[in-house]
Symmetry: C2
């Protein structure tokens, strides 16, 4: 029996959707669902294509209480820039949680992933950063550096912003963009240590394979969200810092131990605290978040299919008649 | 950078594409590629959703020599018939093997899967069935019963057809349809043993969880293709028959031992012949197929991502301007 499928392009999605507190709350609800049981989130289907310097990940998750579930296809082809094409692309499919019928195809080229990743940073900041954040810092100068600071500002309206990146020109551009977007002064720091020293909230957004934040730089009242590691071998935070912190939190333990900051700490035999708590357990009140202003907290975000399902469902509600209907 | 994505519906695909020898040869080439190395075919992403009596499988494969690769999403929601909807649905995405860009979305509701599954049956028959098949038999009376016999007739133009199914009325309807489609007499057999006894080529197309073909029914000059098992616990052929046959062939050993006929034979400790050959090795000339007319051969087909990539690439070439172009 034919039914209508809504096809929505990146441009249409950008016009319909932006990063706001409602979106943060939708993603927060996805994390709570992860902790509350009944979620079905299979391991990521990951296909390495060394022949073409590419990779493809497929993520999905079924969350009780959501009408639909998303299946996300994320290709990364790293020779594309030589052809004038972006490395990252992909789409998200929304299926009915009742019938499995395809309801929508979001040809988003990764835009929805960008948003749900930033929103998870805001969820982490809301539950783990000190109540008062005057200065926020970001390490990295790409799309996520910008979006993570916008998301953090929704829940911790800081009044100063610091940027550190390997390329000073890109760091200056990122600081200028964020200063304009958020209406706060933003400055570039040539040394990551200096950025850490002056910030209460730091987000790392790099593809680093050796740490960009050292354990010795931790100080009372600091929260760090590390969102760059999403593959085995990536590592942004010196493993010793995970033990030095008062609280280290995973988005999903099973993913962080394979491809997050936890991976290196476990490999080096440093992690001795058993199973770390998950962000969803903190959201759901099953585990305390930050308890005192002077604590040091670290959130390790690898990205979950639960976030994809949550944002795809959220978008579907917002879209109204946007997109092209195809009867299939 | 925006690019065009072709969206094609099931109705458009049905108009553009049919089961023919060219398609069989495309699928045959996919099997050869599986044997020749360089293929990347990750394990199936399989999500069980007992809460809603559903399941979703995602399959993919990269094949050297193919311009694109497919990612296929196959939901099965088994309460759908109560709502007047089919249980099986889904779509196939074709991505460029060079850039990872999405090139086409085939909203096929499983039609391409039906075709590539039937074409694999023809590949098995071509390499394993006796040269001369006068009578072909099919066990099962659904879509695959019809398509498997149409596919087999392309490579072994039999002159008589036998049908067996649990429901006599459905068996009669299937026989009538096939007789008309193929222009050969078709009769229903109430006993599967009688169908086996009189056939040189038999295809089983059932979701059986206990055998519908017994080892004692094997006879010289018989080929059986079992294509119904695709989940752990399914079993169409009595495990002892796999040992009794002269040649037992998997589409993919790693899948057949988890969810094909091999599963039960291994679980019962009956399989003692080491790693069985794969159909691709026979197609590629790396392992002999049928060597003598009196041999008994069995092919175990669970369905591979390689077939999806092959048929999606084939369809893309045939489509011309069919479908809706979306700039995304």
């Amino acid at each position: 029996m034919a039914h209508d499928i809504r096809i929505v392009t990146e441009a249409e999605l950008r016009a319909a959707l932006s990063l706001d507190l409602t979106m943060v709350e939708v993603i927060e609800r996805a994390f709570a669902a992860l902790a509350e049981g009944g979620v079905v989130m299979p391991p990521i289907l990951s296909m390495e294509l060394p022949q073409v310097h590419g990779e493809v990940d497929v993520k999905t998750a079924y969350l009780p209480g959501f009408d639909g579930f998303a299946i996300k296809v994320s290709p990364g082809f790293f020779d594309n820039p030589k052809l004038g094409l972006p490395s990252l692309n992909g789409l998200m499919i929304l299926l009915s949680a009742q019938t499995g019928l395809v309801e929508a195809v979001f040809l988003d080229n990764g835009y929805l992933t960008d948003l749900r990743t930033a929103a998870a940073g805001a969820v982490a900041a809301r539950h783990l950063a000190p109540e008062r954040v005057e200065t926020a810092g970001v390490i990295g100068t790409g799309v996520q550096a910008r979006l993570q600071m916008q998301a953090a500002h929704l829940v911790r309206p800081f009044t100063r912003l610091l940027v550190h990146g390997r390329d000073p020109a890109r760091a200056e551009a990122c600081a200028a963009d964020l200063s304009r977007l958020l209406g706060v002064p933003a400055e570039v720091r040539a040394e990551a240590a200096s950025l850490l020293a002056d910030s209460q909230l730091v987000v790392t957004t790099t593809p680093a394979r050796s740490p960009v934040v050292m354990a010795d730089w931790l100080h009372p009242g600091l929260h760090i969200t590390a969102m760059g590691s999403d593959q085995p071998g990536k590592n942004e935070i010196e493993p010793r810092a995970l033990i030095a912190a008062d609280l280290y939190v995973c988005d999903r333990v099973s993913q962080c131990e394979l491809s997050g900051e936890l991976e290196a700490a476990v490999l080096q035999g440093l992690w001795t605290r058993g199973t770390p708590p998950e962000l969803g357990q903190i959201v759901a009140g099953q585990h305390p978040g930050r308890q005192r202003v002077e604590e040091v907290t670290i959130a390790d975000l690898t990205g979950t299919g639960a976030q994809d399902t949550a944002i795809a469902s959220h978008v579907r509600r917002l879209l109204g008649q946007t997109g092209t209907l195809i009867r299939a």
